[in-house]
Symmetry: C2
DNA sequence: AAGTGACTGGCAATCGGTTGACAATTGTTC
DNA sequence: GAACAATTGTCAACCGATTGCCAGTCACTT
C-alpha cells in the first residue's frame, strides 16, 4: 500500500518532458525539419522515411506541442465560445452542437460566460482573442461597434444577433411566433403581453418586434412588460405587472422567465392556463416538467452551434461563404395555454 | 451603407499583427528583455523606465502572447475541466465555481465533456493535456490506472472520485443520505430501493454503499435497481422494475433519473408520493418544477468546483496541501415524499 | 583614490516547432 | 556519357517571449 502509493507519488513528481521532434530526429537519424515534414506534409518525403519517422513518433508517444506550433504559424487550433450566461440551460444544446463540429475538425473549444455583464464580456473576449483562432459570440450584449472592433483583431462570428459587416448565424423566430399567436387567437385571446428580456439582447428585440407586428396585423392588443433579469427570479418578479396588465396570455422572452412567472402564478393561486396562458421561448431542459407543462417556441440550438462554428472556420480560412437561410423555430404545444375566458 | 459596409470588411481583412515587446522596445529605445522585465518583474527596473515602458505598452494596446510565453516557461495559463456530460444541469454550479476561482487567478478554463464515454474521455484528456497546465476530472468514468497514467503527464485533480495517489475533492454524501433515510423511516417506510447510476461512477458506488449501510443498520430492506443511463430516459425506463420491486420509496442516483421516474409514475397513474416516495440527488435546476416537487440531496457543487481548481493550482505550484474535510451534502425536503401506506 | 556593492539594462541562448532556399542524389533523355 | 529534371532531405532563419550572466554606473566606505 505505502509502497505503491510512494511509487505513484514519485511517478507524478518525475513528470519527464514530453518527447519533441528533436527526440524523433535523433532516434531516426534525420533532421528535425524532416520529422516536421513527415508528420505534416504526407507525400513530401520518401514513403519509407515517412513510415520510419511515423513509427518512431508513435513509439515515443509523441504529441505535438500546440504552443510551439502556434508561434510560427499563428494558428492555435482553438476557438472561443462566449455565451451570456452559462447557467441558462438553453446553451446546452448549442454548446454540444458547437463541440461536435469542433472536435470533428480537430479544434478545441474554450468556453466562457459573461454573466450577463457587457464589461465582463468585452474583457473576456479580449483575453480569449490572444489565444484563439476565432471567436463565436452567442447572444452578445455588446454594442455593435464593440463587436466590430473585436472583429478587426481576429475572425469573429455572432450567433443570435445581427451586426453590420459581421458574419452571423441566426434563427428565424417568425414561424414559431406566428403559430403561437395563431393558436392564441383561435383560442379567443385578444389582449396579450410580451414579457421582455434584456434590452441589450438583439434576440429580445426580434421576438418583441415580430410578436408586435403579427399581433397588430391580426388586431390583437399587445403590451410589453419589462422584467428585471432573464431568469426565473426575473419572471417571478414580473408577476404583479403581468396581473395588472389585464391580459389573457403572455409570451415570454425565454423559458426561464416563463417558468418563474408560471411558478409565481401557482403560488398566488392564479390559474394557468385557466385565467392566463403562458408561452415561453427556447424549449429548455425542464420546460415540460411543471404542471401545467410549458408551451414554448423551440429554437434550433444545436444547429445554431454547429453552423456558428462552421461559419467561423470558413471565416478563419478566409473563405467566402454565402449566407445560409435562417434556421426556423417551431412551436411546441404543451399544457400552459387554453381558451380565453369570455 | 455600402460604403461603411465596405469599410468594415476592409478593416476586418486588414487585421494587422498585434504589437509585440519588440514594438514596445523600439518605441521606448530599450531592449526587448528590458520590456519583458518591466512588465513581469515590477521593481527590477528603474521606476521611470518601467513607467515609460508600461505607458508605451498601454498606448500600443499590447497584450502578451500566451503561446510565446508558454514556450520558454512551459506554463500556458490554462486549466482543463472535463465533465462526464455537459447536458447534466448538475455541472452548472460546479463550472461556475471553477470559473470564478480561475478568473480570479487569471487562468483560463478549457471546458469539455466526454458524453459518458470512457474512450472519449481518455482521448479528450490526452488532447487537452498538451495545452493546459493541469486537468480537473469531474466524475471520471476512467479506471484508476488510466487516471494515474494521465497524472504522470501533467498535474491532475479528481472531483467526485477517489483514486490512490491522486489529489481529490469529494463531498460527504452521508449527512444527506442519513437525513433522507431517517425521514423515510419515521414516515413508516420499511422497503426501499436505490435506483443506480453508471457502474463506472465512483459517486454511484458511494451513494449506494452509504444508503445500504444505513438501511441495514436501521433494519430497513433495500434493493439496488439498475438503470440504463443516468438521464431522464434512463429513469423512465426503470419504472417497470421499480414497480415490480414492491418498495414504498426510491432513492435515485441523481435528479435526472428521479425526474424521469417521477414523470413516468405520473403517466402511469402511480401516485407520488401517495404510493411511492422519490428522492433524487444533486438538487439540479428544475428539481423543484414538477408536481410533486422533487425532494433531493443537495451537493455542494459550486464549492466542489472552487476547491477543485484551488487544489489543482497548488498542485501545479508543486505545493503540498493537506487534505481538506469533505464537503457535506444536505437533504432538501419537497413534496415527493410522504408517509408509507400501512 | 581605490574598493565594495547595489542597481540598471543589454546580450544571447533557449523553448519546439515551421518553412523557403538550396544541395545532394537519383533517374531520364538525347 | 553529358545535360537536365525530379525527388529527397538539410540548413538556417524565424515566431515572441523569458532569463542567466555580465558589464557599466553610481554612491558610499575606508
Amino acid at each position: 500500500m505505502e509502497q505503491s502509493d510512494a511509487a505513484i507519488r514519485t511517478r507524478a513528481a518525475e513528470r519527464k518532458a514530453p518527447p519533441t521532434i528533436y527526440d524523433i530526429a535523433r532516434l531516426t537519424g534525420v533532421s528535425p525539419s524532416t520529422v516536421s515534414r513527415a508528420l505534416n506534409k504526407p507525400g513530401r518525403l520518401n514513403a519509407q522515411t515517412e513510415r520510419r519517422i511515423r513509427d518512431a513518433a508513435a513509439e515515443l508517444g509523441y504529441r505535438i506541442n500546440p504552443m510551439a506550433r502556434a508561434l510560427p504559424t499563428g494558428k492555435t487550433g482553438t476557438l472561443g465560445l462566449l455565451v451570456s450566461d452559462i447557467t441558462n440551460p438553453a446553451y446546452f444544446d448549442l454548446v454540444r452542437g458547437a463541440e461536435r463540429v469542433a472536435s470533428e475538425t480537430g479544434m478545441t473549444i474554450v468556453f466562457a460566460d459573461s454573466q450577463e455583464s457587457p464589461e465582463l464580456e468585452r474583457a473576456t473576449a479580449e483575453r480569449l482573442q490572444t489565444s484563439v483562432d476565432g471567436l463565436l459570440l452567442v447572444g452578445s450584449r455588446l454594442e455593435d461597434h464593440q463587436i466590430q472592433d473585436l472583429s478587426s483583431v481576429k475572425p469573429l462570428v455572432v450567433v443570435n444577433r445581427l451586426v453590420e459587416g459581421i458574419p452571423a448565424v441566426i434563427p428565424d423566430v417568425r414561424p414559431g411566433i406566428t403559430t403561437a399567436l395563431e393558436l392564441l387567437r383561435e383560442a379567443g385571446h385578444r389582449r396579450i403581453a410580451y414579457l421582455a428580456g434584456p434590452e441589450a439582447s438583439w434576440m429580445n428585440g426580434q421576438r418583441w418586434q415580430h410578436a408586435f407586428e403579427i399581433a397588430v396585423e391580426w388586431d390583437m392588443s399587445i403590451v410589453e412588460i419589462k422584467s428585471n433579469a432573464p431568469t426565473r427570479e426575473g419572471g417571478a418578479e414580473a408577476f404583479g405587472r403581468v396581473k395588472a396588465a389585464d391580459v389573457s396570455a403572455v409570451l415570454a422572452y425565454n423559458d426561464l422567465v416563463a417558468l418563474g412567472l408560471l411558478r409565481e402564478c401557482r403560488d398566488h393561486g392564479l390559474d394557468v392556463p385557466g385565467r392566463l396562458s403562458i408561452i415561453g421561448f427556447d424549449d429548455i431542459f425542464g420546460a415540460d416538467l411543471p404542471t401545467p407543462a410549458l408551451s414554448t417556441i423551440r429554437m434550433p440550438l444545436a444547429a445554431l452551434g454547429e453552423r456558428g462554428i462552421r461559419r467561423l472556420l470558413t471565416e478563419i480560412d478566409g473563405g467566402e461563404s454565402e449566407d445560409e437561410s435562417a434556421l426556423p423555430t417551431e412551436f411546441v404545444g404543451r399544457e400552459s395555454i387554453a381558451a380565453a375566458r369570455s
